[in-house]
């Protein structure tokens, strides 16, 4: 069955996704609240998979919760914690429970997380995980054995348009599409002129592209990302704009900037939609969408 998210991607509308992080523990209240708040406003909701290698409630459980609440989940799956047996098994389970959108990621190193001595698995990489999905859809697992029962996923991946050097990243991007990625959610972009150049290249490929928007919450946060997050580059004029916000109003400024960027991406038809990441401030996604004129 074709997923609702895939239908949205193919409808030609400006697609909006956001992401929600599962909790550290079994208290799902806040997550459920975020899901309820966002499920009817966005086309789909990513559920992150131990983001930054921090152990949490699993993305599969979070995606199930989205489903139970009547939303459209995108299951994030990294290759860091599971070998090919476990990844395929989780895909079978996901499909059996109506979760049919997957974002395939390599995953951050374990040394960034809160279990720094754990073994990183990386039995597969992101493009091989997409290959696995396409193979399973044809009725075979990675071992070449028959699968009983059908499955079908809308599978996607990520790209970092500001990576340095960029060319190796673009080769990987093309390989993900070769492997069968149908949509791409990008790492955060801030310099839209740069992003336009990336899109001039990326538009040639048969894949839907959602521009990554990370909410700026303060000037120091922007500087921190520039220093510590590979492939994220907040231009100085945006940092200055954040710094110019009156005391206690930085968040409003960040929402205004995010809204302005989304509006421009949409007006200039740069790509197929946006993926909004309001890390830790998911309740602000509707405000960002309003600022962008999407609500």
């Amino acid at each position: 069955m074709v997923s609702n998210f895939k239908k949205a991607l193919e409808s030609g509308k400006f697609v909006v996704t956001c992401e929600i992080a599962p909790p550290k523990g079994t208290n799902l209240e806040k997550m459920r609240h975020h899901i309820e708040l966002l499920k009817d406003k966005v086309d789909a909701t990513n559920i992150t998979d131990h983001q930054s290698s921090v152990m949490r409630f699993p993305s599969l459980g979070g995606a199930l919760l989205v489903k139970e609440c009547g939303g459209e989940p995108i299951l994030q799956m990294t290759c860091r914690d599971r070998n090919r047996l476990a990844l395929q098994a989780d895909l079978l389970f996901a499909y059996s429970r109506g979760i049919n959108n997957v974002l395939c990621l390599t995953g951050d190193s374990v040394i960034f997380g809160d279990h720094k001595e754990a073994k990183g698995v990386f039995d597969l990489d992101s493009s091989q995980l997409i290959m696995a999905i396409r193979k399973m859809e044809k009725g075979k697992d990675l071992g070449g054995n028959d699968l009983d029962g059908e499955l079908e996923f809308c599978a996607g991946a990520i790209v970092t348009p500001e990576a340095n050097p960029l060319e190796p990243q673009l080769i990987k991007f093309e390989k993900k599409i070769d492997a069968g990625a149908e949509f791409i959610q990008t790492q955060a972009v801030y310099d839209l002129d740069n992003f336009k150049k990336f899109m001039d290249y990326a538009r040639e490929f048969p894949v839907k592209i959602l521009a990554g928007i990370i909410l700026l919450t303060s000037a120091p946060m922007a500087r921190f990302m520039n220093k510590n997050v590979a492939g994220v580059n907040v231009p100085q004029n945006l940092i200055d704009e954040m710094a110019s916000a009156p005391k206690g109003k930085a968040i409003e400024k960040g929402i205004e900037i995010a809204g302005r960027m989304i509006r421009r991406i949409r007006q200039e038809r740069m790509c197929d939609g946006v993926h909004i990441m309001a890390i830790g401030r998911e309740e602000l996604v509707p405000d960002i969408m309003s600022a962008a004129g999407l609500l």
Binding site: F112, V159, K175
Partner: protein
């Protein structure tokens, strides 16, 4: 040349491993551990002084030319009297040496070093891990640079999103293997081999522990 790269265990750990063992014979290695200043003559002597200072009786100390060589058995035999007086042999070589010596004597052996990796000297005082003996060598498609080993995640299909100005996301001192491979293949005019989707790797080409018997 292949080098075994070692680092001294902490004093606390060595003290703990030697608890209740009062008479110690210390063995160093004249090859890799001498090169890395972890188990040469100077380090063996310093260890002897340190243990004496802690009230241990050092029955003898010596440096084997090549601790992992089976020939070491002959040299050990010459020292057997002093070795036999000891409760344990404290070995300042890599784990290959520790295990070789364990096979050649009936004494309790205690490693004083941690073996970090098998590497190669790539500059003055610099050693890099460049092959982890995976059994399915792909160097022919990666310009002679090993992504299985030199990429922190062992990725064979190109870089992750963590490449940071050509460095690996985990450490600014470590090159991103995929930046190196890309540059190399570009120079060679062979970028097509990077575009090829690599299938999942065979991790069981030689199921561990590796063993090989020469077919005669």
């Amino acid at each position: 040349m292949i080098r075994s790269i070692t680092q001294k265990k902490s004093d606390e750990e060595i003290d703990h491993l030697l608890e209740g063992l009062d008479r110690i014979f210390i063995i160093g290695c004249g090859t890799c551990a001498t090169l890395t200043h972890t188990g040469g003559l100077a380090e063996v002597e310093a260890m002897g002084e340190n243990l004496s200072g802690k009230g241990k009786l050092v029955t003898g100390e010596m440096v084997l030319p090549v601790a992992c060589d089976n020939m070491a058995a002959d040299i050990l035999r010459e020292w057997s009297e002093k070795m036999n007086q000891a409760d344990a042999l404290l070995i300042m070589s890599c784990a290959f040496g520790v295990q070789s010596i364990a096979q050649q004597t009936s004494k309790m052996v205690v490693p004083a070093l941690d073996t970090l990796f098998i590497g190669k000297q790539t500059g003055a005082g610099q050693f890099d891990e460049i092959c982890t003996q995976c059994g399915t060598c792909i160097l022919g498609e990666t310009g002679g640079i090993c992504p299985v080993t030199s990429c922190h995640k062992g990725l064979v299909n190109g870089p992750c999103g963590g490449t940071n100005n050509g460095k690996c996301e985990i450490d600014n001192n470590k090159d991103c293997a995929w930046t190196l491979i890309y540059n190399r293949l570009k120079d060679l005019g062979r970028l097509d081999s990077m575009r090829k989707l690599q299938a999942p790797r065979n991790h069981q080409r030689e199921p561990s522990p590796g063993k090989y018997i020469l077919p005669f």
